[in-house]
Symmetry: C2
């Protein structure tokens, strides 16, 4: 099987590639744990070849990659483009030793004030807006670092990053709360989101109560997890209220976490449009391909 071109999502810890047909359909998919963080600069080409080598013909095949592969610590730096701008564009051509690769890396986006950066999510935003060109409102991409994008006229007007996922992991695994927070979600998520939205300034005072509640009255660890999640996601929504309140909201992401954000937004009276994260990534890479090799 020979790919017409190859789409690549190359993040910090994973490498994922699709063999694309001339009609834009994904013919095959492959993935490995060869993320950016584990590779020295000279190892990227080999990691890619070992995953997609069988899809290559004798002539050069166009490869388009998004994600941390384009960071300063990646294969080759694809400098951030400044918002406001269209979410996709500015692919950087990277030289390879193997002539069968015509390698391109997509840049991330930067915002100078307040300072912010993204790398990889811009391609999902591009994919979403390629399908919904008239969308005007807030795009939320939940993750270790959630991204909140203000979209208008097919462009990214502004964005913010909130570290909720990373803070949740640190508090639930590495803080004193680890003794009281279980591995699965119990009850109380919605009620806690409501509490956090009503008084976001009080959230810092509610965290230790998850530990004390366990010591004093045996709160179930599953419920402590639901409450911790509700407090942190509720605080994130409160911080981003100016972006989503009274506006259309779309959630782009993997089902589990995006579904949790949808439940939280529902508490705030917002019914979010749901978009699959992988589908948006592929659509964004397709849009980049149409620009590079029309």
């Amino acid at each position: 099987m020979r790919a017409d071109w190859i789409a690549v999502d190359w993040g910090t810890s994973n490498l994922r590639a699709w063999a694309m047909g001339a009609d834009g359909s994904a013919l095959a998919e492959a993935s490995s744990g060869d993320g950016m963080a584990g590779l020295a600069r000279e190892a990227f080409e080999g990691a890619l070849l070992s995953l997609v080598g069988t899809w290559l013909g004798e002539d050069a095949t166009t490869v388009i990659a998004c994600g941390m592969v384009g960071s300063r610590q990646g294969w080759a730096e694809a400098p951030y483009r400044a918002v406001p701008c269209a979410p996709a564009g500015g692919a950087v051509r990277v030289e390879t030793r193997d002539p069968r690769l015509a390698m391109h890396i997509l840049p991330g986006l930067k915002q100078m004030d307040p300072p912010d950066v993204m790398r990889g999510e811009e391609t999902q935003v591009a994919g979403f807006l390629a399908c919904e060109p008239d969308f005007e409102g807030a795009l939320c991409l939940p993750g270790t670092h959630s991204k909140w994008v203000e979209a208008a006229g097919g462009r990214v007007a502004a964005f913010r990053t909130v570290m909720t996922g990373e803070i949740f992991a640190l508090l639930s695994k590495s803080s004193v709360l680890r003794h009281s927070v279980g591995a699965t979600m119990g009850a109380g998520f919605e009620a806690t989101v409501d509490e956090a939205l009503a008084a976001p300034e009080a959230v810092p005072a509610h965290l230790f109560a998850l530990r004390a509640g366990d010591l004093l009255s045996d709160v179930a660890p599953e419920d402590a997890r639901a409450r911790l999640s509700g407090l942190l996601i509720g605080a994130e929504l409160a911080a981003m209220a100016g972006r989503w309140r009274g506006r259309p909201v779309a959630l782009i992401g993997a089902s589990g976490l995006a579904a949790l954000y949808a439940r939280a937004l529902d508490v705030a009276g917002v019914s979010a449009h749901m978009a699959d994260g992988t589908a948006c990534t592929l659509d964004g890479l397709r849009a980049a391909h149409a620009e590079i090799a029309p």
Copy 2:
């Protein structure tokens, strides 16, 4: 040198003892790293004897200890007393193999709604109130877990714990911010406290900007540390505003962190009364001694 009685502050990671004279003065001091966390139950007595053995006579010497030594994982559990109550009292007599020790452990305090606990700080509060019996207002004890105590009529009416110190350590050492946060404090602390007090709900959205500001415009790591500290302490003050706003405030603690909290309160227009943490601990243990061995 023979102690009339022995005062002990026995925390999670440290053991500190004073040989006390009959007039209540501290004649000698000793400390070790034999904190509660590193000791099995049967090892506490030996750890204490190795530190204070030379201060003992042939008859039993009264020893009074506060802190995590009285937790379920400590030498012997001294069950929490429920607020509202006087900060000191309820010492638990602990049997020892060595007849020269008349060992007592002071209990911590608990609050059922909202759930909260403290162990060790109640003795500092007792010491402060022994010296300032008419104080009515907020006592703040900064630390890994800051305690905010509502004091009235010489009693603890209520209290809350805020995990600011632990969250600061996790974010500055274990999150993505570790790449951008330096080891010493630079400029911007007061301005960031002001920002957090004015819009505490926005604090979650400001954290990642410390990383992005470094990537995009080389913010000095010392200034990133000052801003992170200002954001988190500012958010803590905002969460506790109902306790300190328009009321007398006293800060009990070690000089560095308490001084930082004093600067933060100053931004909010509050001039806090400063009390030395060790002096308060000793005064609290003296008050407990007066009750146990009058």
